[in-house]
């Protein structure tokens, strides 16, 4: 279980998170939605320790983050970055097997490559892709490789940062389905941030809407459409008019 308690984070005078509290049950898929610049990525990076919150506490399975062995903590996570964040200098299979080629999870190169090939197959990529470099791949293929890397070490918790950003609707649908299938079959806890409502409906068990630095609404995805929250309603309907100020 992941729990954020009264988390605050400001960048200069810009208070991005103002008392954010959220709980993600183990094995569930939580999708955080919200407009651009509302602090969704910041919240996710706070959990991973990539950004230090100014105040508040974050717990993973009851243990406060930032305490204990950092490598062991990070080994529990996989993450798909918005732009893929694949390492340009490494071929695809080494990107996927990155964690398996070094550090505490290091395996022999042959074994690591075999696992990478299997993960690439799992995300629908052909074996020939393994020896290409990221720059040789399309955006959709890069997302798939990023997904393969995120699941290569069988993590307990997977984060997805805007998994469908920059993809056409069909490829976005494919990636959404892949994420849902993989999260279910691995039994992983998933936290996704997006403003793509098709992703929300495909991936989420639970939804949280972040606005103004706080969780404006949270609940099961099935209750989202029936919610009377005006912020959530405006967001999912994509209306310019409503309590969320839209700059024109």
């Amino acid at each position: 279980m992941i729990r954020l308690e009264n988390v605050h984070k400001a960048f200069g005078s810009n208070r991005v998170l103002r008392d954010m509290t959220l709980e993600i049950p183990q094995g569930s898929s939580m999708v955080i939605i919200g407009g651009s610049g509302t602090g969704k990525s910041v919240a996710l990076k706070c959990v991973l320790g990539l950004i230090q919150p100014d105040s508040g506490k974050i717990f993973v399975d009851g243990t406060e983050t930032g305490t204990g062995d950092r490598d062991a903590f990070l080994a529990r996570f996989g993450m798909l970055f918005q732009g893929g964040a694949l390492f340009d200098s490494l071929p695809v299979w080494q990107n996927v097997a990155f964690r398996l080629l070094r550090g505490s999870l290091k395996r022999p190169a042959d074994e690591a490559r075999e696992i990478a090939m299997e993960k690439l197959r799992r995300v629908g990529l052909k074996p020939q892709v393994a020896d290409l470099f990221p720059a040789e791949l399309s955006g959709g293929m890069q997302k798939r490789v990023g997904l393969a890397r995120a699941i290569a070490a069988e993590p307990e918790i997977i984060f997805f940062d805007e998994p469908t950003a920059g993809l056409d609707p069909i490829m976005a649908g494919v990636i959404n389905e892949l994420i849902r299938e993989i999260v279910v079959e691995m039994g992983a806890t998933a936290m996704t941030i997006t403003h793509d409502m098709s992703s929300v409906r495909a991936i989420a068990d639970n939804v949280a809407m972040l606005h103004g630095g706080v969780i404006q609404w949270t609940g099961p995805v099935a209750e989202m459409d029936a919610s009377s929250d005006p912020y959530l309603d405006q967001f999912i309907q994509g209306r310019a008019e409503g309590p969320i100020e839209a700059v024109r």
């Binding site: 320790g49 990539l50 990070l74 390492f87 200098s89 964690r99 070094r102 550090g103 505490s104 999870l105």
Partner: protein
């Protein structure tokens, strides 16, 4: 107009400069500490050796040979004003080994390697590859900075040694082909005149300049701003800082080795 405004501006600039010096000093200490502690990344180190050392040889060689040749011509024509043309071999040797070899190699490395490191790491930062490294349990200082720093500390002195030899060879070629110097006498004068301290100072300067070049590339890359403009600014700042620090370090090291 507020009469204090210029003073405030100067004060802010000084504070900004001091803060930068502090941050870079802490970064340097952190980099050296990561360089000495496992885990080590031998493949990254070998790549850095290749990129910083081997692939810099052509530009270092060309810079040194033209500089050595020009130096011979300058000393010959300048020396002729007071009948001292014969000192060409000695002055080319001492000029290249003590001063021009290390400084020019250092500046070429700043132009070629510092810019490349800064642009690469800054791009990695902008595209979240640095964050990805962290989530994959890999410390960016160990994976990106330490191998490059170690490789620069090893290869730049070697490049300086090669540059010194090629620079002297450039002077030798010009002196013997154009200025009528006897080849055997030229070489004898060069070898006899150089002292071990000249060579040691050259290599120590090389190591210092290599360290500065690698550190500035890594520091500005890691602290890059967002977007293409951030990458461009990081690259420009890294080269400026490396070049200025190399020239400053050269002054200090020359004082340490040769102060009378």
């Amino acid at each position: 107009m507020n009469v204090m405004a210029p003073l405030a501006l100067i004060g802010r600039s000084v504070l900004t400069l001091l803060a930068s010096v502090g941050r870079i000093s802490l970064y340097m200490l952190d980099a050296f500490s990561h360089m000495l502690r496992p885990p080590f990344y031998p493949r990254e180190f070998l790549n850095a050796l290749l990129n910083i050392g081997w692939l810099s040889l052509p530009v270092v060689g060309l810079t040194a040979i033209f500089t050595g040749g020009a130096l011979a011509l300058q000393i010959y024509s300048g020396g002729a004003r007071f009948n001292a043309e014969a000192v060409v071999p000695q002055i080319v040797a001492i000029g290249m080994v003590r001063e021009l070899g290390p400084v020019l190699v250092g500046l070429m490395i700043a132009a070629r390697v510092t810019s490349s490191i800064a642009a690469e790491i800054a791009t990695m930062k902008v595209t979240e590859q640095i964050d990805a490294l962290v989530t994959l349990s890999t410390h960016p200082m160990k994976y990106l900075t330490a191998p490059r720093l170690l490789a620069a500390l090893i290869t730049v002195p070697a490049l300086v040694a090669v540059g010194d030899v090629i620079g002297i060879a450039g002077g030798y070629t010009v002196a013997t082909q154009n200025l009528g110097f006897n080849p055997v006498v030229y070489l004898k004068n060069t070898v006899d005149f150089l002292e071990p301290l000249d060579i040691i100072s050259s290599l120590v300067k090389g190591a210092a300049f290599g360290g500065i070049a690698a550190l500035m590339g890594c520091y500005y890359g890691m602290n890059s701003g967002r977007g293409a403009q951030g990458v461009g600014r990081a690259t420009k700042s890294s080269v400026e800082a490396a070049a200025v620090l190399i020239l400053a370090a050269n002054f200090v090291l020359t004082g340490v080795f040769f102060s009378v």
